[in-house]
Symmetry: C2
Subunit: 418 residues, 2 copies
């Protein structure tokens, strides 16, 4: 049977996957990148470390597609059979590759680990294979050609560790003439689900623009493939007109990265008063290195007494309005700004659940406060879907709220007009 | 070819997996649970929504194992072909099952959604199949028997959503006479890697005790299968003697859950002063609902001025010893304990990297402080492997340090002696 050229099967090998100790994220990453490059994926197959199983899945895969992309089995141990099995299928011998061996030697020398005779294995490839350099690890990958009933097939063998596999795959696809070099651009959203956005974008999907959605909790990334400059421009203007409440950026930057740029560009410092988020805002901000340039710190005022003692929230206000209320949010923001001497103060107080909700303030009720040189403001939100969602959305929503004007200027600078 | 009874292949179906939009966590969960039940997994296979592909992977799987466990394709749409394809392979017609239909009707009524004719499909099964109830969703699963070259084979079809699949699988395995009902017990560790622990445990692995390791970042869970009471006891005593520095518990509870129990059982309140962890300790503690019973809050003193202004750290001490130092850690812990009126105060100050390290205080240097009614203490740690690891280990290490005595008493209560 003749098979169109850009069909592929994905094969992974490794006992850890068959034992359920490892979730096979490599295959998902391969599927995504190959899909973008224009491959149509037929099947995914996983075998353990037995030769007969690996041989079987490779034969099965080669029977079904023009390309087989496989991960794993390139290590130095006896269980690592990829090169051997592929050579056998291609009916060629294994061949020693001196530059690859020198690469292995260099890697071991760098880490001061003694080389063993086993490691020579990592420089043996099916004769005639194209060797794929591995700048991030020991084992090079390879591409072997073989023919099946007169049709040419290719096996692309990649290493198992994701940080070695992913760059090698990208480099290979970039060098492959048949692969689609998608020009793509991104948009990023917060607070809108994939199905709602996809529904609204339907007119664009009908115009030869391929749209890809990717949930990066709690955000949503939209990727536009092969759109012209004019189409990208119209689509951005459309998003700005219809989804400004959910738009983050015309890029793949997320809330924390954008917030770091906002503070850096505007030269402001920041402090946060957290109640229901319990430290999550500070954690997100300090996940990024270099945060000390703009993040002074925060108070986690989980107990009401801490809202009063550490942030100066008025006891009467607490008693009258409750901890989850507009005036308390405002006083928390003002208090944390003053105590840290920050340019901007943010506060978050809410009911994350599962308990603690009332009819008037159900689980998911959140009040946010902001304070800067111009004064204070508050914002009410009602989040859904449980504790983790409420907390995560509240933290991201608060940061986006603070940089709203800056984001709008950034959008306009991209889309133009005014 | 005759195949031993407890061999299995795992099949998943769904375009989202082939497109890389979804990582196939169902197959990993199946592999783990089937492995525990004594099945030997041969292959994993994934097909999209095309009938010929699903038919092909099922045939391939049935050819290689006595059992095929599959997920997905039980929904009401045209793409959902599982029952149809299995019936064809088993050479039986599809049959309507009234109780299943009544279950579907009830589920829809509960959610107030109108039923369509399509939904009748979810009550159609290969004739003679055993039907598996789905208390968590609409689509029941089923077990179909078929014979292949005279040998009996079984296909177990489970729904795709993990929260429906997992309980159905557990119920099915519990009812299966051939399945191993593993008695197992857990140990949980922090700060030791899988390879080191496995090496030290080798003598036990040679004694017919099967050991399973599972990394739950930053911790490590060890599972003992089918060990006798006496063996479990000896192994615990061995761990206590050799790994007390890394042991968390003789259970699968992690640091945050144990810390919550520690505070609850001892009736103490807690506050935290965080520098390099930036709010992570508070975040971890408040991930658990009910934390307000013992967690008063914290100060994230990312800037040095905040260590002085909000926690009362002496300016001269800061200048002389630096922010990452024993006296500053102690003063931070004392300060946060006093300001929150907490029974226990913890502090964490360190260099998370990638920048900011010096020869004397390289990246990964962390000082922890504790303060309670008896006084203050400090602890020095040197963590490795980058910002995320340093921060995560520091947070977990700090919490374990605080409850060390309580943990030891808990271990002794389990192992006995003294």
């Amino acid at each position: 049977m003749s098979i169109p050229r850009l069909t592929a099967c994905i094969v992974s090998t490794g006992e850890e996957v068959l034992r359920g100790e490892l979730i096979d994220s490599n295959s998902a990453e391969l599927a995504r990148q190959l899909g973008e490059a224009g491959f149509e994926i037929q099947l995914m197959l996983t075998a353990g470390d037995r030769r007969m199983d690996l041989d079987f899945v490779l034969r099965t895969a080669l029977d079904r597609a023009g390309w087989v992309f496989m991960t794993g089995g390139l290590g130095p141990t006896e269980d690592d059979l990829t090169a051997e099995v592929v050579a056998q299928l291609a009916q060629v011998p294994l061949q020693f590759d001196l530059p690859s061996w020198q690469h292995v030697e260099r890697r071991f020398a760098e880490f001061g680990i003694p080389l063993t005779e086993n490691n020579r294995k990592q420089a043996m490839f099916p004769a005639g294979a194209q060797i794929l350099a591995n700048p991030n690890g020991t084992a090079p990958g390879f591409v072997a050609s073989l023919s099946l009933a007169g049709d040419e097939r290719r096996v692309v063998a990649l290493p198992g560790p994701p940080r070695e596999m992913q760059p090698m795959l990208r480099t290979f696809l970039a060098s492959l003439p048949q692969a689609r070099k998608a020009t793509h651009s991104f948009m990023r959203f917060l607070g809108i689900g994939e199905s709602s956005l996809a529904e609204a974008m339907r007119p664009w999907a009908d115009q030869n623009i391929e749209l890809g959605y990717r949930a990066i909790f709690p955000e949503l990334e939209l990727k536009l493939y092969d759109a012209s400059e004019a189409q990208i421009h119209s689509l951005r203007a459309f998003a700005l007109e219809n989804f400004a409440d959910y738009l983050l950026d015309f890029s793949s930057l997320g809330t924390p990265e954008l917030f770091a740029r906002y503070l850096t560009e505007t030269g402001q410092t920041f402090a946060v008063a957290e109640s229901c988020t319990g430290g999550l805002v500070g954690k997100i901000i300090t996940d990024l290195p270099g945060a000390s340039a703009y993040f002074l710190g925060g108070v986690v005022s989980y107990a009401n007494s801490a809202k009063h003692d550490l942030l100066g929230v008025d006891a009467a206000t607490l008693a009258e309005h409750g901890a989850v209320s507009e005036p308390v949010a405002q006083q928390m923001a003002r208090g944390v700004r003053e105590r840290f001497g920050a340019d901007i103060g943010l506060s978050i107080t809410g009911i994350a659940g599962p308990d603690g909700g009332t009819d008037q303030k159900p689980v998911g009720t959140v009040w946010l406060g902001r304070a800067d040189a111009h004064g204070t403001a508050a914002r009410h939100r009602q989040f859904v879907r449980g504790r983790e969602w409420v907390r995560t959305f509240a933290a991201h929503d608060g940061l986006r709220w603070l940089m709203r004007d800056w984001l709008q200027a950034r959008w306009r600078a991209t889309v133009g007009g005014g």
